[in-house]
């Protein structure tokens, strides 16, 4: 397997003749042919993500079985010459709603013991990112962004997030996409300042929060050959008629040609819901900004009044009152974060995109059916 190729290469080399003292770990020299592609310091930027076939099935299974559309887990793998090879994954326990301290601790414990166990059976044990299942393409939310922001600081190469769309998969197009946060968003996130001015400075819109990394699916040779065996026609059926029909463990499916529009209503509902949420959020923002404006006005009035007073006092020959205590007297609220509304807009856009996609394929299917009916 390519992921462990570097390790295997290193292991197959003859051990250094002079055995060093036991406590110091032995680092074997990287062969010259590999020295360009193995970067210990993580200097080669990631250009591509490669997802192993096993991870694909694991993700599919977890995403479908999870109680709500919140299946998430960790991705394990290694990077080699700019390609991040994801060779394994495991699901994280689902916990409802509020994340108290104890549950997050137990998740951390779970994660650590899982990694230790996987290491014992020679599986990759370095976390390279996480995956998230989603419906109708709307994966942009606060949790995802926060988790990825933490990962991007901690993990080698910053880690990536793989988004798997359940509804699209059910429609016949298994969709996996890899993302990471853009540097503009990370800068804003570091200062956790998402006021209007900050957004303008980083020119952030919902489409510039995440950047997509090209993703490839790979099946290792063993898996390829096994799948090949599964797809071979069954002998008992092949004898029936060689030209018609192929009986194999994986019969062909034409789920994509399904003419139903069952998902459309749900999609429209989601859009309405997202727009409603957005409106509420905008209302909150407007309320807050009005309050800010009011407070600021009050403060300004106070300052002008104080100035007039001071002018009068100076005219009377008295010491002027201090003008600096405005900030103490009037608490002007900080400008509200626009992150939430930004993310909601992103969701609306994603729902819209998914709806447009359904409509366009629906149109093709309709004309195909009409042509088939001979009209």
């Amino acid at each position: 397997m390519a992921t462990s190729m570097a390790a295997a290469l290193a292991a197959s080399l003859p051990a250094p003749s002079a055995a060093p003292a036991p406590p110091t770990p032995t680092y074997e020299a990287i062969p010259a042919s590999m020295s360009k592609v193995i970067d210990i310091e993580a200097e080669i930027p990631l250009t591509c993500v490669q997802l192993d076939g096993m991870v694909v099935t694991k993700l599919l299974k977890h995403a479908r079985e999870a109680p709500s559309a919140t299946a998430h887990g960790l991705l394990l793998g290694l990077d080699l010459d700019g390609t991040l090879e994801i060779s394994n994954s495991f699901p994280l326990p689902h916990h409802a709603g509020d994340e108290d301290d104890r549950s997050s601790k137990s998740v951390a414990r779970y994660q650590a013991s899982m990694l230790r166990s996987l290491k014992e059976v020679q599986a990759d044990d370095s976390v390279v990112g996480f995956y998230q299942a989603t419906t109708l393409g709307a994966f942009l939310n606060q949790t995802l962004v926060d988790t990825q922001a933490i990962h991007q600081e901690k993990l080698r190469h910053g880690g990536i997030v793989i988004v798997h769309d359940i509804s699209q998969t059910a429609r016949g197009n298994a969709s996996f996409r890899a993302f990471r946060l853009t540097s503009a968003f990370l800068n804003a996130h570091k200062t956790s300042n998402f006021s209007t001015s900050s957004l303008m400075a980083h020119s952030l819109t919902f489409s510039s929060i995440l950047e997509e990394v090209p993703l490839k699916i790979r099946t290792n040779p063993l898996l390829s050959s096994f799948l090949g065996t599964l797809m071979e026609p069954d002998e008992s059926l092949a004898s029936l008629d060689g030209e018609l029909g192929t009986g194999s463990a994986i019969p062909p499916s034409f789920g994509v040609l399904e003419f139903g529009t069952a998902g459309l209503t749900r999609n429209l509902e989601q859009i309405v819901e997202a727009v409603d949420n957005y409106r509420t959020e905008e209302g909150n923002l407007a309320y807050l900004s009005r309050q800010i404006a009011r407070e600021r006005l009050k403060a300004d009035q106070f300052v002008t009044k104080r100035k007039e007073e001071n002018a009068a006092r100076v005219a009377q020959g008295l010491a002027p009152l201090p003008e600096e205590d405005v900030a103490r007297l009037f608490k002007i609220p900080a400008e509200p974060s626009r992150l939430e509304s930004l993310l909601l807009l992103g969701q609306i856009d994603a729902y819209g995109k998914s709806l447009a996609g359904t409509a366009s394929t629906g149109l093709v299917k309709m004309y195909a059916a009409k042509a088939g009916s001979g009209a």
Binding site: L215, I217, T229
Partner: protein, 298 residues
Amino acid sequence: MPLGPSSSAVHVHLNPTAAAPNVPRTPTSVTVHPGALFSILDHYLRRTDTQDRVIGTLLGTRTETEVEVRSSFAVLHSETSEQVAVDMDYHRAMYELHHRVNPKEIIVGWYSTGSNLNTYSALIQNFYSEETAPNQAIHLAINTGVEEGEQAGVKAFVGSPVGVFPKPENCVFVPVPVELRFHDAERSGIDLLTKTATSLSSTSSQPVSDLEILEQAILTVQGMLDRVLTYIQAVLSGEKKGDPAIGRYLMDTLGASADDLEKGGFNSTLQDTLMISYLANLVRSQAEVSSRLALAAT
């Protein structure tokens, strides 16, 4: 959907009433989820040089007669000519971890790669039977097909004691039919993998647009129609003897009518679809404008 070459083995099932009445019935069929299967293959790839075969635990659900294998994990074990050892602590710890994420899945049996069943297999089977008691443990033997002359495939067995005095190292492995099963919603993922496996470089890039997939499906249907057409023409011209069964199937399949579409249904659906398309684009442009306005506001 059968896995591997068909065998001539007779699937023998003991009459449950003959045994003690409280003993659950032996499973009569086993289904395997691709995820479990592929993990086993991955485990086999990552074995050490000294390991001849790898073993692990199968997790899944069971009904009275059917066992559904849904996932699997690797277990450490060592085999020498004198003894076999399975890391039970590891097995328990791993099961606990899996149980936290997926409480519905229980231990149903174990897997090993290669297709030789020996005394050690019987011992391990005995160990897993204790884990799954009172139900019987199943054993999946996965032939990875890397050894010459052997075909890749999966076989399932249940253990049955043998001899006058049953001993743990003696056991008859009774074959059970095994099938590959996955949910319809996961179907496209399997398609994606098979397509990847047949491509030259064993890789395929993502994301693929819906329309591309649709195009491929339509092209496949076209190819199938062409195949049927050549067959029918061969039958009509007398080159080939027609099979009445195939004729029946064709009649049933192609006889489906699209009357609904013709009676004005087409136009109204078309209008709906166009409306939705318009709406979707409207929503998207609104969202885009809104986000730009947020930047422009001072």
